[in-house]
């Protein structure tokens, strides 16, 4: 333990307050699940736990998670490198292409892929009949296409923030380019990669929209079936606890991989400009790659939605759209801001005051994300009715639920930015007499802007697409864009679903564009 240069500030309410809220967000559903789980009779319990099916679910879940992570890395890493470190033109557009798939709800992506193939698919109209995607492969492609942006954005943020002087130093020491990449750049990408990877993994673990349409049985699909179809809260609770256990194990693994890393510049002076690699004859290949990713990730779902729109016999009910947009925005935007605000103290404690409790708190935020949303929603029903009945079915509860559930998405980008913000600046501000909070806002906060922007975008996009929490916790008569898409698509009324999906994607794109404009 190094000797601190300044007395460490006391833990103040603005630091532990958010931490307590986050703990609540995780403990409430966990408590709920435990209560429900132990309602089972002993024999019933044995029958539920010792099913061969659970092993199959575990294998499927792990296999899909690993596959999606590998595939998402293969898309995100080259793309992030292209836009930050090469002379590729149109980096802004490429960045947008790498982010926009986040705006596409997973089940729309799955419908789009399904609609492409088969004897009546879009491709069949130009004479190509592909077998319809299903099972592992189908789920892998659909999930990769809408989760790789989490990795891409995290990697891009850290690549932009890297100080090239380290690489230059390595080059001057005689390292070749390949060695510089492997020994200097890649290690520095680690925290951001892990943060993004964790989000991808949690998405795969929690997804049921894609896996159900692709008919691939994972834990979350099984949990969804128990709650949504089988009226069984006990078996669902056990499956949810198994899923949480699995997530907990992955979180421990991530923490191990991240331990004891420091990435801030310690010297004085400003970061130097990055030297961009000239692509030369690889340019065509690079553009081809970008075009392919853009076509698959955003072109295909948008084309599918436009195709649905064209199928409608009558004009869509554009009037209802405005109301749905308003409901979506007034729940998602405050939730995104709240989550980002909560993420700052949590990431700060984790990075600047690393201790067992602060690290635990950060991991706990991820557990909230891993709790199946239906269980999360039911727990909040019970909790809010018991503790604060006036909150039940209010916008405030919905916003709080979104923020707590999606907090993990907000923590990662802030954490990555904090790793790169030199602690000396803040220490200097404190030494100059600023109180700790003022010192933070004067010295560190401005350096977090890029990360915070990404945090807000992540949570906003997720909240916009969210369904189970919205269904169970929203105020009466509340109807979001996502509910419009799901309600109509589920009844095969694709032309009714289309305008909602289109507005959903447009809104998301607009916000993402705004947030990325100045980063």
């Amino acid at each position: 333990m190094p000797t601190p240069t300044l007395r460490r500030p006391r833990l103040r309410p603005y630091l532990w307050g958010p931490a307590a809220l986050v703990a609540a967000g995780v403990l409430v559903p966990l408590g709920y699940l435990l209560v429900r789980a132990f309602e089972a009779e002993p024999e019933e319990l044995a029958a539920l736990l010792l099913r061969w099916r659970n092993v199959r679910l575990l294998g499927n879940t792990l296999g899909l998670t690993a596959g999606v992570l590998a595939a998402a890395t293969a898309l995100a890493l080259p793309l992030a490198w292209l836009v930050t470190r090469t002379d590729l033109r149109g980096a802004r557009v490429v960045t947008l292409l790498g982010v926009l798939p986040l705006a596409v709800p997973g089940y729309v992506m799955a419908y789009a892929l399904l609609g492409l193939a088969g004897t009546n698919g879009l491709l069949a109209q130009v004479g190509v009949v592909w077998p319809r995607p299903s099972g592992y492969g189908g789920a892998l492609v659909a999930l990769t296409l809408y989760t790789f942006p989490y990795l891409f954005l995290n990697l891009r943020t850290v690549l932009l923030g890297l100080d090239p002087s380290l690489e230059e130093a390595a080059r001057s020491l005689g390292y070749r380019e390949r060695e510089v990449a492997r020994r200097v750049v890649l290690p520095q990408l680690r925290p951001a990669y892990l943060a993004g990877a964790l989000l991808v993994v949690l998405h795969v673990l929690g997804d049921f929209g894609v896996v159900s349409l692709m008919r691939f049985e994972t834990f979350s699909y099984a949990i969804y079936l128990q709650y949504a179809a089988a009226l069984d809260r006990v078996y669902a609770a056990w499956l949810a606890l198994m899923l949480l256990g699995l997530t907990g194990a992955l979180l421990v693994l991530e923490a191990r991989l991240l331990k004891g890393r420091l990435y801030a510049r310690t010297g004085g002076g400003a970061a130097r400009r990055v030297r961009r690699t000239a692509l030369g004859r690889w340019r065509i290949l690079a553009y081809g790659f970008v075009a392919l990713v853009g076509l698959a990730g955003i072109g295909l779902p948008v084309a599918t939605i436009l195709f649905w729109l064209g199928r409608g016999a009558e004009a869509a009910a554009w009037g209802d759209l405005g109301a749905a947009l308003w409901d979506s925005a007034r729940a998602s935007l405050p939730a995104a801001l709240l989550a980002a605000a909560l993420a700052v103290p949590i990431a700060y404690l984790g990075v600047r005051r690393p201790s067992a409790p602060s690290r635990l708190m950060e991991r706990v935020a991820y557990l909230g994300y891993a709790t199946p949303p239906l269980a999360f929603a039911l727990a909040l029903v019970v909790f809010s009715l018991a503790a604060a009945p006036f909150l039940y079915q209010t916008l405030a509860l919905l916003v709080g639920a979104y923020a707590l559930h999606f907090l993990a998405e907000a923590v990662g980008p802030v954490r990555s930015a904090l790793y790169q913000a030199p602690p000396r600046l803040e220490e200097a501000a404190r030494a100059l007499g600023r109180p700790p909070a003022a010192a933070f806002f004067a010295a560190t906060f401005p350096l977090l802007r890029r990360g915070l922007g990404v945090s807000v975008a992540f949570v906003f996009l997720s909240a916009l697409k969210e369904l189970p929490l919205t269904f169970l916790l929203s105020p009466l008569g509340f109807r979001t864009l996502a509910m419009g898409v799901w309600g109509a698509a589920g009844e095969a009324l694709f032309s009714v679903a289309a305008p909602y999906a289109l507005v959903l994607i447009l809104t998301s794109s607009l916000l993402v564009g705004l947030l990325l404009r100045d980063t």
Binding site: R132, L225, A230, L385, S495
Partner: protein, 353 residues
């Protein structure tokens, strides 16, 4: 500081535990009171495209305020159970007799007056706890270019003998209407025959879909050639619906009805129950009355291809005449379809859930 986490845990968990424990004692005898302030609250397991237009008409016709919470049947029943006495809901509108029966068995519903229960021509549960509103029918949908309908069996019980259909059958084991169908099969043919049927079906490698919409898209795309589904999904694809969806009469699918009285043609009754905890019982009864008016029943037939339940309604050509449709379905007490638990056990033992 060290004690903070455990203190927090206690603070947070105690009301939760108390609430879970309270649940058992929520059976306070209902007292007739005048409707409370605020709108009539409907929990609907049916999708908004099927419900919202009717609620809007009800608002216009009566001037009463009404709000709807959407979800799936099971989600909403779980929410109602967790809400207990504090539930703001007055009515539960659900897709299947199984879900309605389960909600009734869980003590969620008040008994309905005979003035309401006397109106539908059929399907009224003997428990009197919920009101049938519309009905749909189970059917076998098939791909007309790839399947010869004359070779299909007269009863769904013999479907597993169609070895030629291996890998070409679609079903939806997790979907509530399929589960109603299995419950009815258990009631009509016994548990053993039903388990044997599922086991035999499994040897044909059926493809399990999450719901009917993706299954029929798969049928149209040639992924499967027959599908155990509900009649209106097929009609919706062929004829369009509610003026919103373009008809796709070229879609390669047709309906194969099994013989009269076969469980493969089971009527799937949608209905509404009045919740024990309703705070607007009068407005709720007016809503139930409204659902059985000719206008509301005609909406079901003309806009969403479902069959009305009150007698004497004229039906569009694409639907079968009502008396013919009713004779296709086996007759049973639709209240008995509430025995969902044994069906789920069976599906679980067979590894389908």
């Amino acid at each position: 500081m060290r004690r903070l986490p455990s203190l927090l845990a206690v603070l947070i968990l105690s009301p939760l535990l108390a609430a879970c424990a309270d649940e058992a004692e929520t059976d306070v005898p209902g007292v007739e009171v005048a409707d409370a302030e605020g709108p009539l609250v409907i929990y609907s397991g049916r999708k908004d495209v099927l419900v919202a237009p009717l609620v809007e008409r009800f608002r216009e016709a009566t001037g009463l305020a009404a709000e709807v919470r959407y979800g799936t049947d099971a989600e909403l029943i779980a929410a109602l159970q967790e809400e207990g006495q504090a539930s703001p809901a007055d009515l539960l509108w659900a897709n299947t007799a199984g879900a309605l029966g389960a909600a009734g068995d869980a003590g969620l519903f008040a008994t309905l007056p005979d003035s309401l229960l006397g109106q539908p021509a059929a399907f009224v549960p003997s428990s009197g706890r919920w009101l049938p509103v519309t009905t749909r029918f189970r059917v076998l949908a098939y791909h007309p270019q790839r399947v010869d309908p004359t070779a299909l069996p007269a009863t769904v019980m013999e479907l597993p003998q169609q070895a030629g259909l291996r890998g070409r059958i679609g079903w939806t084991p997790a979907y509530s209407s399929f589960q109603d169908f299995v419950t009815a099969m258990r009631l009509l043919h016994g548990d053993e025959a039903t388990a044997a049927w599922i086991g035999a079906m499994k040897t044909l490698d059926p493809k399990a879909y999450e719901s009917n919409t993706p299954m029929l898209e798969a049928l149209a795309a040639g992924e499967i050639d027959v599908a155990l589904t509900n009649h209106y999904y097929v009609l919706r694809m062929l004829d369009g619906e509610a003026g919103a969806e373009e008809a796709r009469p070229e879609a390669p699918m047709a309906i194969y009805p099994f013989a009269e009285g076969d469980v493969g043609n089971l009527a799937l009754v949608t209905g509404v129950g009045l919740l024990e905890t309703a705070t607007h019982p009068d407005a709720a009864r007016r809503f139930l009355d409204f659902l059985l008016t000719e206008g509301a029943q005609a909406f079901a037939a003309e806009e969403v291809n479902e069959y009305p339940v009150i007698p004497g309604m004229a039906l569009p050509d694409r639907l079968l005449p009502m008396d013919r449709a009713v004779t296709l379905s086996p007759t049973l007490d639709f209240g008995r379809l509430s025995d969902l638990e044994a069906t789920l056990d069976l599906l679980r033992r067979q590894g389908l859930l």
